[in-house]
Symmetry: C2
């Protein structure tokens, strides 16, 4: 009864969900990190939606971006003001249809949303790791996700999907554990950051570590937090998530609550107020050290270097999964040419890859905003897999 | 004897020059600023190169960009390590040929290179203005330049040229004093900043005012200067002056003095070291409050709003000069579409305008780097004027 479904706002929601945790890399089986240090035990926050089939053939892993978390869909409480960050894509009848698929989303290693990271207590001291936390890589995040799948008894994934930093994880999965994912969807991502992106990340990091309240990373439990530095980092980042075009459309040169220039050194344009609001909101939900660690992990990632001695074509020989790569025309943070480089490398190896560049003015953020196009594209990609891979009563 | 000229490094230089100052807007004839406040006396630092003809028909005004100064060409001392900022364009036989033209370059009102600005002593107190300095606009800068020309006895300009913020001044000249310039060259500029540019400016300003050493702008004469905030602002700015392409060419993902990742929270990529070096160099030569005032002046500028009730086409009815507009393909700070908007508005009024988009990977900085192309284009534009306007023995 599709009518009922459409008219009932709860009918396409996964409903009330809980974030669970599980612990992997228990000593002595600690995880060897790329930096050479070992880490364990590692707590991972995760959520799941839908039911795993008895054949365990319908699992899909969602890989969140930079400042995301495990809470991809549904609400934690009936009165939650907002659902999970990808609720428009995950639920009954949606692209990631929870009537069909078993969806898993974990908070990345190093995150500050329930998984072990700089904010977590170091078992050795009982105090937050802070800067004693080891430097992480995208590969380390993926290795932890693999341990989670092992713990859940899932050997193969029907698919995985990630945008931005999530797409880097998906690519690393394809190269590190090619036998696990049957397919992968990589959105607005890259096989390596451009120097321009590294530069923006470094200015953000510098703003954080220059904030006197950062206290060399040992601000936990003190009454001073590096909110100013973190807000500046986020403001820089936020500009790179939008586009010149979308900012023109959204703000133009409109002034905030006034008709004329005030001729004073205060913020007056709407775009300035918006940026400051983004900065202020962000510092309430995110940790400054975590920002340092995750940006560093992104800067380091270089699939060609790690897996192909500098050649992305060589690295992509390893890929076994069917892939869908999507970029967005106005994304200048991870521009389309970077996606095309990946697609080219996959095609050079005769891999099964589909590529779509979506015309959009939303910049990098488009991967979270161009819902209707993305919904159609991803749904059709998954439908195909569902029909051929998942055992079900058709 | 062109051979001699070519072989002698000094032959195409204007040689040793001095920065002069003159004082305008002497009380009671103070300058009424756009913000409503009055300012005077106003000191202006300027340099001149070449000789003014008896007919006073060969004067060209150079309008510097954001952090530039009056020292466009030559050297102040024989052992100066670097010549003026546009030495490759200004000198005997160069585009701005000092054998033909009388070149004037002033430091803008509000600058920190000899002209009255936030670092100057307030005559009322004897102490630096700091934040008591009035908010400036591009129009105010141009009004002061007009007073300088009046003081020098120059009624008409053969031409004027400005890149970036200098181009905004040139456009303001064309609209405010259309009877003065016979021609104008506008490089890598815009009739108004995009919200993206305003956003970058605001993050830079916020980094400065968040630096505890800024001391609410009253850091002059103290032992603490807002160097960290100013360096962050400059680093952000510097990224916007380059392009993704030029950064890929210049740095790629090369590491600085190492072959492998150090897995530590330090800067490791060449592009990071470069940016920090740019920031450090900048704070030695520029003033933080001045940065606030000049960025605000740029944010405010909107030729269409000021002169055409929101219509650039209407504003451009005022223009009398012949204009040359040049943009650069990879400039994303003041993108080509902004130059094309200006050119379109001029053409709608049947004005004499030439437009060239130069293919370049250098981003916004191209207007200082694409020397050979620019040299040819500007030289030919000026040759024409020289032949028709300037009285000389041909």
């Amino acid at each position: 009864m599709p009518d009922v479904k459409t008219n009932n706002p709860a009918a396409d929601s996964v409903g009330i969900v809980v974030t669970r945790t599980l612990t992997v890399a228990q000593p002595p089986d600690v995880l060897k990190l790329e930096c050479g240090r070992s880490l364990g035990p590692i707590t991972v926050a995760y959520e799941t939606y839908g039911q795993l089939t008895p054949e365990r053939d319908n699992a899909i892993l969602i890989l969140h971006a930079w400042t995301g978390d495990a809470h991809a869909a549904g609400r934690h409480h009936p009165d939650d003001p907002k659902p999970g960050w990808w609720d428009n894509m995950v639920g009954p009848g949606k692209a990631f249809d929870t009537n069909r698929y078993f969806i898993i989303c974990t908070n990345v290693l190093g995150g500050c949303k329930g998984s072990t990271g700089p904010t977590s207590p170091d078992p050795a001291t009982g105090k937050p790791y802070g800067l004693t936390f080891p430097i992480l890589t995208i590969a380390d995040m993926v290795k932890v996700q693999k341990l989670v799948l092992d713990a859940l008894g899932i050997e193969r994934l029907l698919s995985m999907v990630g945008g931005s930093m999530g797409g880097m994880q998906a690519l690393e999965w394809l190269l590190r554990y090619p036998e696990v994912p049957r397919s992968a969807i990589i959105l607005a991502s890259t096989s390596r950051l451009s120097p321009q992106s590294i530069a923006f990340n470094e200015v953000g990091r510098h703003a954080i570590v220059s904030d006197p309240n950062w206290q060399n990373g040992a601000y936990y439990g003190t009454d001073r937090q590096p909110e100013t530095g973190l807000a500046i980092a986020r403001m820089i980042g936020h500009i790179t998530f939008l586009s010149d075009e979308s900012m023109n459309q959204k703000f133009g040169r409109r002034l905030q609550n006034r008709n004329e220039y005030g001729y004073e050194l205060t913020r007056e344009f709407e775009v300035e107020s918006y940026l400051h609001a983004q900065g202020s909101r962000f510092v309430k939900r995110f940790d400054a050290n975590t920002y340092l660690y995750l940006t560093k992990a992104m800067d380091y990632y270089d699939a060609a270097q790690d897996w192909g001695e500098g050649s992305l074509e060589k690295a992509c020989r390893r890929v076994e999964a069917k892939t869908l790569v999507v970029s967005f025309s106005s994304d200048w943070l991870f521009p389309s040419y970077q996606s095309r480089e990946l697609v080219k490398a996959l095609r050079q190896n005769n891999k099964d890859v589909s590529y779509l560049e979506i015309e959009s003015s939303y910049g990098h953020d488009a991967f979270l905003l161009e819902s209707s196009t993305l919904q159609r594209v991803m749904e059709s990609f998954l439908d195909n897999l569902y029909a051929t891979v998942v055992k079900h009563d058709a």
